[in-house]
Symmetry: C2
Subunit: 198 residues, 2 copies
Amino acid sequence: MKASSGDALAHLVEALRRLPGVGVKSAQRMAYHLLQHDQPAASQLARALDAAVQKVQHCERCHTFTEQPVCATCLDPQRDPHQLCVVETPADQAAVERTGSYRGLYFVLMGKLSPLDGVGAHDIGLPALIERAFDEVVQEVIVATNFTAEGEVTAHVIAEALKSRGLRVTRLARGVPIGSELEYVDLGTIAHAFSERR
Amino acid sequence: MKASSGDALAHLVEALRRLPGVGVKSAQRMAYHLLQHDQPAASQLARALDAAVQKVQHCERCHTFTEQPVCATCLDPQRDPHQLCVVETPADQAAVERTGSYRGLYFVLMGKLSPLDGVGAHDIGLPALIERAFDEVVQEVIVATNFTAEGEVTAHVIAEALKSRGLRVTRLARGVPIGSELEYVDLGTIAHAFSERR
Ligand SMILES: [Zn+2]
Ligand SMILES: [Zn+2]
């Protein structure tokens, strides 16, 4: 029996296709490029994937990615512990950080409510957020979920859960264009929305 | 000294950015997706990258990717050894194969002439192609490089090198794609189809 001549390449294309936003043509181009022009990049990526899977975990306090039990931001004594900003993803957190207009702490949902996809309150850590927000130090929760349909529903559910227990909850001002994701919004708009939060 | 909390994640984003067509935002989204929702895919990709780098090499006869010294197509006794089709990439070879209209052999350049990027005749294996084409069995070389500026230059150089040594060299016909409406075909193609009418 003749051995198949293209298994390793076919498996690589297949594995690359599991990356979000990568179709079969892109996966082929990536595989060809790595093997033909940049084998060091292929090996570097393999090592980086293994290291990330092994080391990266979720912060016990804010749920963002970290290699320690508690992330550097949560441990930073310079941050204002009276404010807690709720974002969907670490990318959104990074976008808020880049504005330089917020010095409080974070809670990262690592997703958004999406009943149709089976993503419920527990999946976004709502019970943990409630416990976190009522640590007797937090005075204001700023909900900075995206201004998409699912982000708004998530914001509403979070606001209801916290307000009903007596906490001050604000939402970023609607200076952020409706329908857009924070990650792709210019910094000035995000900074403005922070100062206009209500 | 406090250890950096995001090294593994930052390294992963950096490694993903080396994939063609992947910017920093896409790389972040890919990294977050893998770590949050699909760690098996991350490990699978790491294994596939290592296996491909270790196993995939170039066919001695046609230069395409293979795990054997000579690829399955070159070894296939059903193929017509009198015809040799020259393509830029394995993806182009796969496209020709899918047409089902060609039963000869191939030579894969694994690139195209691009003097501005420092890609010369040796980089696309022109000396090897000349040796391959003059094996006394090949009767016709069909140049199927892409119909781009660089693909045309590559075709021209290959054709000159082989014709001057007395071999029959043909080029895929250019013209209006079958099934397309003139209104939507670019003007250069229409103009060319006019001058090449027969
Ligand atoms: Zn944290
Ligand atoms: Zn071959």
